[in-house]
Amino acid sequence: MEILIAIAVMALGALTLGAALGYAAIRFKVEGDLITGKVEAILPQTQCGQCGFAGCKPYAEAIVRGEAEINLCPPGGDEGAKKLADLLGREFKPVSGGGDGEAVKPRLTAIIREAECIGCTLCIQACPVDAIVGAARQMHTVIETLCTGCELCVKPCPVECIDMVSVPETLATWKYAYPIIPIKSAERAHDVPNNVGAMNDTQSSHRKVA
């Protein structure tokens, strides 16, 4: 008898709670999601597909659905993975797969050797961000400021006239470095050369832009 009461009580409880939850499921129905946008904002928008998805948005959607890791984006680097980990509360994983995690890929830009270009427009179709201009049978050129360095145009080129070159540092892009006097090498810090060269050393100024 007692066992029946117990069952009845528990069943009653389960029913009540079930009804409440059922109502809540309808009342608090969620439409759309805001997170995908935030994830996508972190991705570098190179649209390079190195993550295995067709562009940054599909990758962002996959991350939010929990189907993709957050460390699949080489252009975003560890910095980007860190930001994603922060946003989503997931554990940070280095992009390069451990080891040389700090090595950052230098920024590249595509350059078309214009003399060799045959004007096939294949690279224009390949470029995900419309950074290549030109018409059929006309020479094409890359608008360097728009190029994301995704390398998608390199393969389609039938005459292999597209090179990926690193963007040179200029006065506008130069940044101060991280201070280099770690506590570890405290006694060696005195040896860091901070003299700017001998008085008659005029050679140095003829250095060309790297």
Binding site: A177, I183, K184, E187, V192, Q203, R207
Partner: protein, 349 residues
């Protein structure tokens, strides 16, 4: 010839160093150490030296273990921590207790967090808290008033060659008050009780009052030399004065007067030397006031109503926990960003 990496301005530097700051703190502790030694005997000096040696040893070993240079031993921060441990532990506590305290302070509370400047808790207070929780009996063995053991006998007690005699364990004034307060049958007055046990001196605990006065002198020196700012100690002592005054006015028979509290136990040491630790404390002016005020209030509550003989260590550790959050919410207004016109005009004719 390769061009040297850019070195950022400024190229001038004022004559200051971390070591100089630490030296001034040590100097400020000196009057307290001298008076304390006069009261207790040379055992205190032995404890200070013991703590200093082991602090350097632990710090050095840890630096070696991390493959760092031993240059950080010169900054003097470990010595300040060691001095505070020696001054807060009972002077005749066994040598291994002091060493254990130093270990927890230097290794657990400081080096595991990355060393100087990065520890969220005050190392000396961690040492005190660990030891009083783990060895409550040993940490309450304060030598009885007027017990002047000869130096050799003190050494025997510290290094465990002679049994820890009962005479060591006398009630401190704070203990006596607490015991009386918890006794429902207690009917007399605190003052009479203390006087009857000849624990009361001129204005606070006998003998001990002069040690705390010496700490006060050292602390004022630090404020004068601008090593510490006034906010924390003033808030600490202020809140302790206010709360003890309120209790005293409510029931002068059961609670002691503010003066007694300010000059008893570790109040002065805590207010000037421990709560002002910038690493584990608050750094904004408003934050310092909150930190000091909170620590003073908690210290009073714990020492009068709580389960431990003195509340300084725990109150400061609890405020250490709060410090990062207090700092976040008390950031001062920066140049050209007045917060509700709070910023005053700083005119001069």
């Amino acid at each position: 010839m390769p061009i040297a990496p850019p070195i950022s301005s400024p190229y001038l530097h004022a004559e200051t160093s971390v070591r100089r700051i630490m030296n001034q703190v040590m100097l400020a502790l000196l009057p307290g150490i001298v008076v304390y030694t006069a009261l207790i005997g040379l055992a205190l000096i032995v404890q200070v030296l013991l703590a200093c040696c082991f602090a350097l040893i632990f710090e050095g070993l840890f630096q070696k273990l991390r493959g760092r240079s031993l240059a950080s031993l010169q900054d003097g921060s470990a010595l300040v921590t060691a001095c505070l441990i020696a001054l807060t532990f009972p002077p005749l506590s066994p040598w291994w207790l002091t060493v254990l305290g130093v270990f927890f302070a230097i290794v657990v509370a400081k080096q595991l967090y990355g060393g100087l400047g990065q520890n969220p808790f005050n190392p000396a207070m961690i040492a005190f808290a660990v030891c009083i929780v783990a060895f409550p009996a040993l940490m309450s063995q304060w030598p009885a008033q007027g017990l002047h053991l000869p130096f050799s006998q003190q050494m025997e007690v510290i290094f465990g060659f002679s049994p820890r005699i009962d005479a060591l364990t006398a009630a401190t004034p704070l203990d006596a008050i607490k015991t009386a307060l918890k006794m429902d049958s207690f009917t007399g007055s605190i003052q009479d009780l203390l006087k009857s046990q000849s624990l009361y001196g001129t204005f606070a605990g006998r003998g001990w009052e002069w040690v705390t006065t010496a700490y006060l002198v050292g602390g004022l020196f630090l404020i004068f030399r601008r090593v510490i700012t006034w906010q924390t100690p003033v808030a600490f002592l202020g809140s302790m004065t206010v709360i003890s005054l309120i209790c005293w006015l409510i029931d002068p028979a059961r609670f002691s007067d503010p003066l007694f509290h300010l000059f008893s136990g570790g109040a002065m040491l805590g207010a000037f030397f421990i709560a002002t630790d910038p690493v584990s404390g608050c750094t904004t002016p408003a934050g310092k006031l909150i930190f000091g005020g909170g620590a003073g209030l908690l210290a009073y509550l714990i020492r009068v109503f709580g389960g431990f003989p003195d509340g300084i260590a725990f109150s400061i550790l609890i405020m250490n926990i709060c410090a990062p959050l207090i700092d976040v919410y008390t950031q001062p207004a920066i140049f050209a960003m007045q917060q509700g016109g709070k910023k005053k005009e700083r005119d001069h004719a």
